[in-house]
């Protein structure tokens, strides 16, 4: 396997509010291998979104501070990079799709301008105006796909309205192909007639369309790492399925490395290669998806799988996890899951709690933060 795109090592993130201070993410370590999709699941408030936004240093600092640890990307520790240098890494290096398609497109600009801006940034960097430390060939190049040109030919043969023609001439000023590329990327996300939406504003599109545009915008910069922060959870169920299907197809096509954050195990099961489970700011289990689903080695993963809606039974009470999510300003000592854990022992309450370690006897790369991983299978 080639070198991982990003290595997260012992990352901790604190929030400081007045005199209060709590650790939203504590000691998380994992790698995103080249070309893989890594999923992170957990409950609301487990720190997965904080983690996602900490990687490109998007968290407002203060109140957030990166307590310790490192994020190695292209051989540099992003935690040490001064914030004003981060824009050079964002975009073409790391890109992100946000949860709320309603809010993630700027309401004041037309779709064309927003996508074109992204493409423009990438081109400027490719021309070398800004130093981009790209060690390998870009992971994918959509513009060379044969289907793109044929699709283009189909739409271009239709005579565009005069107004659109004028707008097009105006917009292809310096770089005649930006418009074509915008259309290519909109087609990539299965927008059938992209010409019609170029001049629209985000509020004139449906939620699903907006998220497609968002995805097109992120992909158009050909990022080495794409972070998808719950890209489907704010959408209607039917639209969710469409966007998810699209994402799955795109993952096949573009071969980029993706960090996929979700609270939905079903989504992760369909898309990810590796899966990490977070609980109360800690990564409690990490391993290949199939392995994790078949043989969970942490009681929390087991409980989460048991509570997933796919296991709804037609009769009897719904499965739940007893107890409450812990208060992160005063987390439980030792293993944070022990107050809710069916197999907790006295040892589990002792600090600093179980480390995330390779599980003996499991398949390669399967790590769990439990003292008794072999007992998990026996939990009813």
């Amino acid at each position: 396997m080639s070198e991982p795109v990003v290595q997260i090592q012992n990352l901790s993130i604190d929030y400081v509010i007045g005199a209060g201070r709590f650790r939203a993410v504590s000691g998380v370590s994992f790698d995103v291998p080249q070309g893989h999709v890594v999923g992170i699941v957990g409950e609301t408030g487990c720190g997965k979104s904080t983690l996602a936004q900490a990687i490109p240093r998007l968290l407002p600092e203060p109140p957030a501070t990166i307590g310790e640890g490192s994020v190695i990307f292209r051989g540099t520790d992003l935690v040490q990079v001064p914030l004003w240098k981060m824009p050079r890494i964002r975009g073409t290096g790391i890109n992100m799709i946000f949860q709320e398609p309603l809010n993630s497109l700027n309401p004041a600009f037309r779709i064309y301008d927003q996508v074109a801006e992204a493409i423009h940034i990438r081109r400027v960097r490719e021309r070398g105006n800004l130093v981009v430390d790209r060690r390998e060939k870009p992971p994918f190049d959509y513009s060379r796909r044969p289907t793109a040109t044929s699709g283009e030919a189909l739409t271009r043969s239709v005579l565009p309205p005069v107004a659109a023609e004028k707008a097009a001439r105006h917009r292809t000023d310096s770089d005649g192909t930006i418009r074509g590329e915008v259309l290519d990327y909109l087609r990539l996300v299965r927008i059938n007639d992209p010409e019609t939406i170029l001049n629209l504003y985000p509020h004139e599109l449906s939620g699903g369309m907006r998220q497609r545009v968002m995805i097109a915008m992120a992909l158009s910069e050909k990022p080495e790492l794409l972070i998808a922060d719950e890209p489907t959870s704010a959408l209607d169920v039917t639209i969710q399925a469409q966007v998810l299907t699209l994402m799955k197809e795109l993952i096949e096509e573009v071969h980029t490395s993706i960090l996929f954050i979700s609270h939905d195990l079903g989504v992760i099961a369909e898309t990810a290669d590796e899966l990490g489970v977070m609980y109360a700011g800690k990564l409690v289990e990490f391993g290949p998806v199939a392995e994790l689903f078949e043989h969970p080695r942490h009681p929390y993963t087991k409980a989460l799988l048991g509570a997933a809606p796919t296991r709804y039974k037609s009769e009897g009470p719904l499965a739940t996890i007893a107890g409450n999510v812990p208060n992160l300003s005063h987390p439980p000592s030792g293993c944070r899951f022990h107050p809710r854990c069916p197999i907790a022992r006295p040892r589990c309450t002792v600090m600093p709690g179980p480390p995330l370690e390779l599980v003996a006897g499991a398949s390669e790369g399967h790590r769990s933060a439990c003292y008794f991983p072999e007992e998990v299978a026996s939990i009813p």
């Binding site: 409950e43 408030g45 979104s49 939905d264 719904l318 739940t320 409450n324 992160l328 300003s329 809710r340």
Partner: protein, 359 residues
């Protein structure tokens, strides 16, 4: 912060004792002061002014050896140890006159803003609370709003000037002239806040529980309107002062030197050509009015940052952080200390929250 975040139903909203409420308000106030050093500066200046006004009303000779309008034998003297702000052409000690003007200026400003708040606030409450179309209250509120709109289309200073001309010079006339143009702002403010509060669940609950309309207004609506009104009133004291001293400057206010008032003092020196000849004459009254308005503005601005729910988020830290629903801001809004005591259960199983059991 205290009243607003207590939507626990009619009983809890109306249940706190006055003493406890006052204490809660005091605690909030201390947090305001701690949050921003500039607010503290404003607060100290206001306290200083109030103290000076009190001294000038009771034992003025603690602060100045001169009585009101007492002439000295020094004419047009530059600032010195004896005359900190110098003297004017008639031999009045400017420092003494500035001090004697403190209680007068403050009293006029408070009278105007207070009366405008009372009158405009009452109308705003009526227009906001009984605005159902087709009823008597609805018709009344339409009339109130139209009249308010027309008043608001005047620059208040200009209208006040026109009225002041008709009324003639003097303190009561000045108060009346400014007051007549001042109340519409409070109608707007209180009406807006009333409309916002009126449809909150706990007001609905109180109504459903059979609480009378008048009681709802007094106990629930009014108390929630108080916070923005306090902020606005504090800022407004400064604006009123500026306006009435401008009227004084134009020469329509009180009659200086018979009544000391900052705006009229500057007007007097300006029209007598003293300011270009002896620039220090503007120093005393100018500094006084500047610091007074600045004090109330700093205090009001700081209060706004804490009491205004929009900017409250900002104090908690810029924005909603990253951690979706556990963002620090929300918690800051509810309690002083961060706590995660939401009856949380995994999101992937939305229906499962029915089965919550405490540990």
């Amino acid at each position: 912060m205290t009243t607003r975040s207590a939507p626990g139903g009619p009983s809890s909203a109306g249940g706190a004792s006055p003493a406890r409420r006052a204490w809660g308000g005091f605690v909030v106030f201390l947090r305001v002061l701690r949050a921003n050093p500039l607010t503290l500066v404003g607060f100290l200046l206001v306290v200083l002014l109030a103290g000076a006004a009190l001294v000038m009303l009771t034992v003025p000779h603690l602060l100045t050896p001169y009585s009101v309008n007492q002439l000295t034998l020094d004419y047009n003297q530059a600032p010195s140890w004896h005359h900190p702000f110098g003297t004017d052409g008639t031999g009045l000690d400017i420092y003494a006159m500035v001090l004697y003007a403190i209680p007068i200026d403050l009293a006029i400003a408070f009278a105007i803003a207070g009366a405008a708040l009372f009158w405009g606030g009452a109308l705003g409450l009526v227009a906001g609370f009984w605005d159902k179309p087709g009823t008597l209250g609805g018709a009344l509120s339409v009339v109130i709003l139209r009249v308010t709109d027309i008043f608001l289309s005047f620059p208040s200073l200009i209208l006040a000037l026109a009225i002041a001309v008709s009324l003639g010079r003097g303190v009561p006339q000045l108060i009346l002239a400014v007051l007549l143009t001042w109340w519409p702002f409070y109608v707007r403010l209180v009406r807006g806040e009333t409309l916002a509060v009126k449809h909150l669940p706990y007001v609905m609950a109180a109504r459903a529980a059979g609480v009378t309309e008048g009681r709802i207004v007094l106990r629930h609506v009014l108390r929630n309107v108080v916070e923005p009104v306090v902020v606005y009133f504090t800022l407004d004291i400064g604006t009123v002062l500026v306006t009435l001293s401008t009227i004084g400057f134009i020469g329509l206010g009180v009659n200086y030197p018979f009544t000391p008032e900052w705006g009229s003092m500057i007007s007097y020196y300006q029209s007598a050509g003293l300011i270009s000849a002896y620039p220090w004459t503007v120093l005393g009254p100018g500094l006084a009015i500047f610091l007074t308005v600045l004090a109330f503005s700093l205090l009001g601005d700081g209060l706004r940052d804490v009491l205004d729910p929009r900017s409250r988020r900002v104090l908690a830290g810029t924005g909603t952080g990253g951690a979706s629903s556990t963002s620090p801001s929300e918690r800051e809004g509810a309690t002083a200390e961060p706590s995660l005591n939401r009856s949380g259960l995994p999101e992937p199983i939305p229906t499962a929250s029915r089965g919550v059991s405490s540990p």
